[in-house]
Symmetry: C2
Subunit: 198 residues, 2 copies
């Protein structure tokens, strides 16, 4: 095995783009670390601490913000969300690739991070649904939600999608296997990059 | 289909690295154009004009050099070898990816080309055998050549291999399928690059 630094792959995209499935599968099949974020909102039915999120108290979260422990964080509807530096840096230093499912504001914060290790490691991808029609179908198909909830999701998704030109790579979702092959190619190619070799 | 500019993938590596097989297969399976170079040496048994090389007379070759028609060229053992710009530029402009099996001196000339279209299109890869032992086995295994011929090939290969740090990507050959998957990932990833979208 060639020794190299880890890759930090940021993946954004609206709900319904399929990004979370791609990230989880990549982590499983390519020995990458799936970055788990922290939140102060209570766990939902079936959510597992340390797998879906690290569930923190507000006091704990705030004192970690003050301690500079977060790579990125945000307050949404009176709850905090964020990614600890420790969730990323230790893995990268050990040569493990990290895949991070993150919204556009979070990705912006990670990109602005002055840490050289992060800057060297980072590549970013925006995943898009094939069309607005398909996006609407995916957002609708999730359950039996009210029309105004779906309309709000759609509005949020369209707003998020305006940010794709800020990313280095863009994947327009097609079929599950084709998407995964293209997605995986980002990590496989990046693993061959001479500037990452130690 | 998204409209984008073509990728120019330069692939170098010593004889026995397997680069030619990789390039030919990529061209076949990924609808890329395999760049055919020109030579003034006579065709060998079984070589087909326009498939293995464009066979040119010395006069024709020299007048094309004078006309600035070559992207790169060299004189080796009193014969000329080179790649015509037309073999590359038209394809790139049409959004077709071009794969170019090229030695380190040729790659250097292509990298130095001031043409913006070439500069934007270019990525480069060096393919290496897994070890010197395996390289020797591959160079020996080709036929019933004399020891000094094999020794010369080995010397040339080792000299060529010193240049890998000049490339952006490096592939250390493992198995045929693994090599191809990694090789293909370069093109698949590059096709997702936002800066190539029109």
């Amino acid at each position: 095995m060639t020794s190299r630094t880890g890759i930090l792959l940021l993946v954004s995209g609206p709900s319904g783009s399929g990004k979370t499935t791609l990230c989880r599968r990549l982590a499983d099949e390519q020995e990458a670390h799936y970055s788990i974020s922290c939140t102060t909102r209570p766990p939902r039915e079936g959510e597992v601490d340390g797998k879906d999120y690290h569930f923190l108290s507000k006091d704990d979260f705030k004192s970690r913000i003050d301690g500079g422990e977060f790579l990125e964080h945000a307050e949404v509807h009176q709850n905090y969300y964020g990614t600890l530096k420790s969730e990323v840096l230790n893995h990268l230093a050990a040569g493990t690739d990290v895949v991070m499912d993150i919204d556009v504001q979070g990705a912006d914060q990670v990109r602005s991070c002055p840490d050289t290790q992060i800057k060297m490691a980072l590549i970013d991808l925006f995943v898009m649904p094939p069309s607005e029609e398909e996006l609407l179908a995916r957002l609708t198909g999730r359950g039996t939600d009210a029309e105004e909830i779906i309309a709000l999701r759609m509005e949020n998704a369209l707003e998020e999608m305006r940010h794709w030109p800020e990313y280095s790579y863009r994947l327009i979702s097609a079929t599950r296997e084709e998407d995964y092959l293209n997605f995986k190619s980002l990590i496989l190619a990046e693993r061959l990059r001479v500037s990452r070799l130690l």
